[in-house]
Amino acid sequence: MQETIIEVNNLRKIYGKKNEKQYEALKAVNFSVKDGEFVGIMGASGSGKTTLLNMLATFDKPTSGSVKIKGEEIAKLKGNALADFRASRIGFIFQDFNLLENLTAAENIGLPLSLQGVSAKRIDAIITKVASELGIFELLKKYPSELSGGQKQRVACARALVHNPAILFGDEPTGALDSKSARELLELMSEVNKNMGTSILMVTHDAFSASFCKRIIFIKDGRIERELIREDNQNRSNFYQEVLDLLGTFEQ
């Protein structure tokens, strides 16, 4: 049986203070992600998908309910424990890359390892390995300002994977990319998921991106409304059509 990576129970998030006007962004959300899965979360703007991701990635605290990553209750983490958890268990790809523009690609990628006290020699070895796998070896010495959007996102992807996280989160990772780069990145993520066995959870509002996932969770007004699973023998374009069809009825 596959190990559970993420377990979400009755997760609720309410914005606004008690005596002010409150807004319930998430209403009792339940789901889990198994090891090696590639899960997409879809929903319109304001559906609560980003709120959910922020909570899973420890960037925000839930109002109630629990989120467990590899059995660890992350809402209880604080201070150094929280920082260390982020540094060792989580990889994150942001929509706007979030690379540090004053570091080269190699330094950006190596940063999570430096933080864990890995020796300089091993860091170099791991960077070379990951960069070759992601096809960005020749970009290592460049600064982010010298890279295209697609290249930047590949570097960000390498940075998110370099420390072998338990899960890779993506927040609209193709949002700022042109269609060719977007396709390349998504193919890359599929490969990473398949070959390296990394679990991925990605938030997107784009059906094309979502069609690369193996399972899609649809959120509407803070609730999980539907779930779509890609059959083993189903090809991607077929699944894409299915997603589009569902969206056509879902958003009305």
Binding site: A57, F59, G79, N80, A83, D84, F85, R86, A87, S88, I90, F92, N98, L100, E101, N102, L103, E107, G110, L111, P112, L113, S114, L115, G117, S119, A120, K121, I123, Y143, P144, S145, R159
Partner: protein
Amino acid sequence: MLQKLAVNGIKNRWKDYLVLFSGLVISSSIFYLFETLSTNGRYLKENGAIVSMIGYIFAFGSILLTLITLVYINYANNFLLSMRQRDYGLFMMLGARKGKIGQLIWIETMLIGFLSTVVGVIVGIVLSTGMQNIVIKSLGLTARYYAPIWWKAILWTFILYLGLFFLAAIYNTFLMTRKPALKLLKSQQKAAKKQLPMWMQFIQALIGIILLTIGYGVIQNAVKYGSKTIPISLFTITFGTFFVFNSIVTVGISLLRKTNLAKKNLNGFTLGQLEFRVHDYTKILTVVTMLLALALGAITTGIGFNNITDKTAEAQSAYTFGLFQPTSKQRTLIKKLDIEQQSSYSYKVSGNAVYFEETQFEKQPFQTVKFNSKSFTSSYAKLSVAELKKDSYPLQKFTESIQPNRQVVLVDAQKFTAIQGQQQTALFFRAKDTPDAQSILSQISNLEYAKSKQKDRTDAIQGNYDAKIYVVKPLYSGLEFMGIFLGIAFLAMLASCLMFKILSGAFEDVRRYSMLAKLGVRKSLLQGAIAKEIGILFVLPAVVGVVHVLIGLNLFKGILINPYYGIWLPFTIFAVLYLLYYFIVLFMYQRIVLKKI
């Protein structure tokens, strides 16, 4: 409508404007402070009489301060531009005409310049009045002809600042109307990276070191170069410092980045930050170094003049006082003092002479002082009767006040008894010249002066205390005031310069540090990275500045005899203030950058 929007923009960012405005006010008020000294010719002449070419020195000080102001306003203007670029880009997007935008930015720049200069001059007047009162009262100094409200200083401050802001306004208008709106909107996202080739950096390092060597060499041989010393050394040291920072620091950082050390924790990030900002930083590092050298140098020489006041007074004679026919009041006052040495002699006045009895001088020999300029200490020697007979000047010096134009004669006991006239007593003593003793010493002095037949107090010097108060202090205290005054002014300028530069960078860093936190960097590591980055900005100028001061003190060899005497005191005071300031800036920076983490 657009005006309304522009004003609204200012309202929304009032905190940033406060930083900008207060920085400019401090800068202009300090320029004003400096000019109150520099343009007051009479004050300089009266107080700096023993420093040749003092006006000349101040003229070059003004030039240096103008250069510093130039860099400062350049930073301030960039800060303003970076704040406003997005807003103006947005206005353009909304369809504002370029001409209108240009007009707005021109008015805004000039308004900020004008207001900060006016407030700066007012603050300058308040500060100079306060400084005059505090420095003069607390140190017992006199600064004749110093005027806190000095129209020439007001005029020069306005000319410089409004002139510079006029140029800045033209530059801003030009920039804003030329750049496409999109570029203005996204201006914050760009990250320029310029790296000079290695050989250029090597040449810069070489030029820097040669310039510094020339500057230091000229200072060491100030006598030889005379009036050329100041301009040469000022020019070579300022630019030498700049080239050294621009090359050695840059190369040093990029070399450090290649070592394994850079792969530990956040070191790589900090070095990356520094390398990215180093071109921006070299200017501020140079300015801070020069200000630090000037501030520390001014305070050190100021305290040096204080030391030499005491030492020169100490070297006037072996006695704090020589009292003739001490009154009972004087005797009770003396009992309160800490006496180191005391002797009392009988004398008689007859005809054109004052007679002393020699046996008394055998029993309690009269002392003279010898001053060792190297160790800065006074030693006392006993005069034999024969020596005193040969040259009675050490004793005669004391009788001039009460018995002017009478010769001192030493006679044996028999002759002394034979001389007609009333037998009187002269009391010589040396007491510890502590701050507590000042009022007692002053009372004794006034009681003694009451007996004097001299009109001018400087002709009635009855020992070292009178010499200090009426001769030496007036000579040096103007310079001491100048030194401490300028030291504090430069220190304030340095503080505002560092604060301004560092805090203006803080806003850009908020995003970077929150990114790092999302990557899972511990807060303590983030704090450490900030401490290191700001620490570098403090340490580098401190090291180079201290070297400048240590060498620059040679300039004062002529007046201060040993300018290095007791420098630990100003250096320690300075180090404590500097360290304290580091922690304040660090605290503020961390509060801005790590607020949400």
